[in-house]
Amino acid sequence: MILFGSSFLVYNLAAYASDPLAELRLSSDDGARQQIISLTRSLNLDTPPPLRYFLWLKGVLGIFVGNLNLGVTREGFTVQEELAYAIPVTVRLVLAATVTAVLFGLALGIISALRQYSRFDYGMTFLAFLLYSLPIFWVAVLLKEFMAIQFNNFLSEPNIPIRWMIIFSIFTGIFWSSLFGGERKRFWTVFGGAFATSFVTLWAIDLTDWYLNPGLGPILIAFLSVGIAFGVTAISTGLSNATAKKAALTMAGLAVVWYYPAQWIFNNFGSYFTIFILISMIVLTGLGLSRVYSKIDRRPIARTAIITGILSGFLILVDRIMQSWDDYRATDAVNGRPVPTYGQRKDQLVTEDFWLNNLDIIMHLILPTLALILISLAGWIRFTRGALLEVLNQDYIRTARAKGLNERVVVTRHAFRNMMLPLSSLFVGEFVGLIGGAVITERVFGWQGMGTLGIKAINSYDLNLLMGVNLLLSILVISGNLIADLVYSALDPRIRLGK
């Protein structure tokens, strides 16, 4: 009903606001007259817009009898074809951006709320407001200049000046020390540790020319996996749970043992299916470990082991993709300038190699995703912080603390789950909103997605195309709202639909 009304309005508004034949009328050419006639016939331009709308509607309603017809574009393609090409492109971009932004936003927002009124909190608040005020096209152009063009220049002559190493290390130091908070002594200890670590890392990177031939290697992966095992256990069950710790460490050990076999599998059977199989194997191993190690309370142990396994496996995968870097740089299509500024694929890159193709997709994703993340991160930080503070002031949190639960359980089990309720419905809305709202990002980075299609339709007065884009976006908004409501009521037992 609403859909009908809004599409009727947009159709007529657009039809009266634009004249698809204006340019052709101006020319006195014979061919132009021919074109006017043929366009009039194919687009039914001789029917007045309100009536023409119903012709269009008839085609749309054809979907119920299995015969969807959204009309043809000016170039004579069907609108369905154009949409079918554009949707995956936009979804890929928006999904990557939203998921990353949510993960970072959640983490930063939670820490910011737990450390309310600390230096970190003030820093995050300011950062959020700053990001909130940034125009996305401005950010996108800056990213193109500094992350792509200058980084590519840097790669052709890689050498990190010591000045930058120090500046970067100071920033990392400030970040981590404000994150941990505490008194002056603790502040400086953490600052020193973070400063030294990042300085040494940068130096090592510079010495080994890591960015020319990156990779993690089995030793680094071993270290990181053990770190992940401890971190996941600390958050998931607490380090006092010895069985969970043992399971997580076993998982990390298995990941290291599997490093070389995994290389062989990846090289010979690189496909999404292989990755899927490996993930299922990790899940099964995690379940098995929980059976071996414990007779009671297996779920948290299995959870810890599986998360550890997937994160370590992800490291190995990253390592494999990194190994393609050198080949990728050397291909003719890339020609030593690996960070692209334009398009969603390199058309010249013709290769059967699974890893090269994926690296290409990832490299093209980086900049536009980064731009979108920067813009939407602010909202997530603020929402998360607000929601968690709201929840932490509730009586049940006081009760949980009063009965002697430790802070970890209070935060992860009582506060975090309740906080996720409003955020989960927000996520759906944000995702749907971005599909239509990524217009500018798509334009700056030259992606052929939904937004570009809409712009093209407006610029060429292509009514059918415009209506196709518009219809799809409206349906997405409406179904997004519906899904958000359903998710909310499914998660929150206090809300029941239909009562």
Partner: protein, 356 residues
């Protein structure tokens, strides 16, 4: 790793009756307006933002000539948008032309503004004048959008919330209806047509699209406020619907309304610049900040100043409005208490000791 640290509560605070006591003491005997004003001026970031926002407006508005009907108020800046002075090329890096003359280095001879502090564009027009003109246009659009969507949102929201039932249902469907129309696309369609009639109409159209969130909020406020006892009391005393709305309900909702309007305005300047950037908002020969960035995007590598200055103005305007909105939200929110500082705690302790 002590991620889950809990705030310590000192004995002095407990003796003094917790944090409430300190905060409540401060607002004893003050009217609501005074409390809000006081809270706002205690919000340091908001005050800084307010002052800088006011100075930006003053700076932008007085710098160029302004015309109001027959009256012409001359601006203090020497160039206008129409002037085409000679392109400067001495001292410019890498053979470029029209670089900015502003210099913040007090030791050099060139310290000060110079003739073209923001540089010149490719035909020599003074970029400071262009940016000022663009900022003026963007500010105007921002305020018009804020006013239009604020007005429609409050009217629709209060009617829906006050009368409820069928009126509410119809108006809320209207809100749903407008929300399904993708803003950027419809704004682009309108902008493409409105480009010929001027930026004012663009702002009006954008305002007509932007009120839905506010209407929902006002409606929710009205729905809960009209059940309050003081509204019943007013009705029993014989107050008309209009009087109840304006004297009893709206003053209680005004805080939230103002906050949302500031947020709409902060969003509006970004929408306007984004549309102009896409070529559907303000179009040449008119100037707006988004349009300036769009026009000189390609010259970023060679003449970056053409890109930096309009961006700088967009960011500072949006940032100021956001911070003002945040300060207002804190000031109007009755649950928000001022942060209890160390000094307050010490004082409370001293008072308790003195009382013993």
């Amino acid at each position: 790793m002590k991620l889950f640290g809990r705030k310590e509560v000192s004995t002095g605070e407990i003796l003094a009756g917790g944090e409430n006591a300190i905060a409540n003491k401060e607002v004893e005997g003050l009217s609501q307006g005074q409390i809000v004003r006081r809270r706002f001026f205690h919000h340091r970031a908001a005050v800084i933002a307010l002052v800088s926002f006011a100075s930006i407006i003053l700076f932008v508005m007085t710098s160029l000539d302004s015309k109001m009907g027959p009256i012409r108020i001359p601006g203090w800046w020497q160039w206008t948008v129409e002037d085409i002075p000679e392109l400067r090329y001495e001292d410019c890096p890498g053979g470029t032309t029209g670089c900015p003359t502003i210099s913040l280095d007090p030791t050099s001879d060139a310290f000060g503004l110079g003739t073209h502090p923001f540089g010149q564009d490719d035909i020599g027009r003074d970029y400071f004048a262009l940016v000022m003109n663009g900022a003026r246009r963007s500010l105007m659009i921002m305020f018009v959008i804020g006013a239009v969507s604020g007005f429609i949102g409050v009217v629709v929201g209060s009617i829906a919330g006050f009368y409820g039932k069928k009126v509410d249902a119809v108006l809320m469907r209207l809100v749903d209806f407008i929300q399904t129309v993708p803003t950027i696309i419809i704004a682009a369609v309108i902008g493409k047509a409105a480009g010929k009639v001027g930026p004012l109409y663009l702002a009006l159209f954008l305002g007509i699209l932007g009120w839905t969130g506010l209407a929902r909020l006002v409606r929710a406020q009205f729905l809960s406020l009209r059940e309050m006892e003081f509204v019943d009391a007013a009705r029993v005393a014989g107050a008309s619907n209009l009087r109840i709305t304006f004297k009893h309900i709206l003053p209680n909702a005004v805080g939230q309304i103002i906050v949302v309007i500031t947020l709409i305005m902060a969003g509006a300047i970004l929408t306007e610049t984004a549309l102009s950037y896409l070529g559907f908002g303000v179009v040449a020969p008119d100037v707006s900040l988004g349009l300036l960035i769009s026009q000189y995007e390609s010259s970023f590598t060679t003449r970056p100043w053409l890109f930096w200055w309009p961006g700088f103005f967009i960011i500072s305007i949006a940032l100021c409005v956001n911070f003002i909105g945040d300060g207002l939200r804190d000031a109007f929110d009755p649950r928000q208490r001022r942060r209890i500082t160390k000094k307050d705690r010490e004082q409370a302790k001293l008072q308790v000791k003195a009382g013993e």
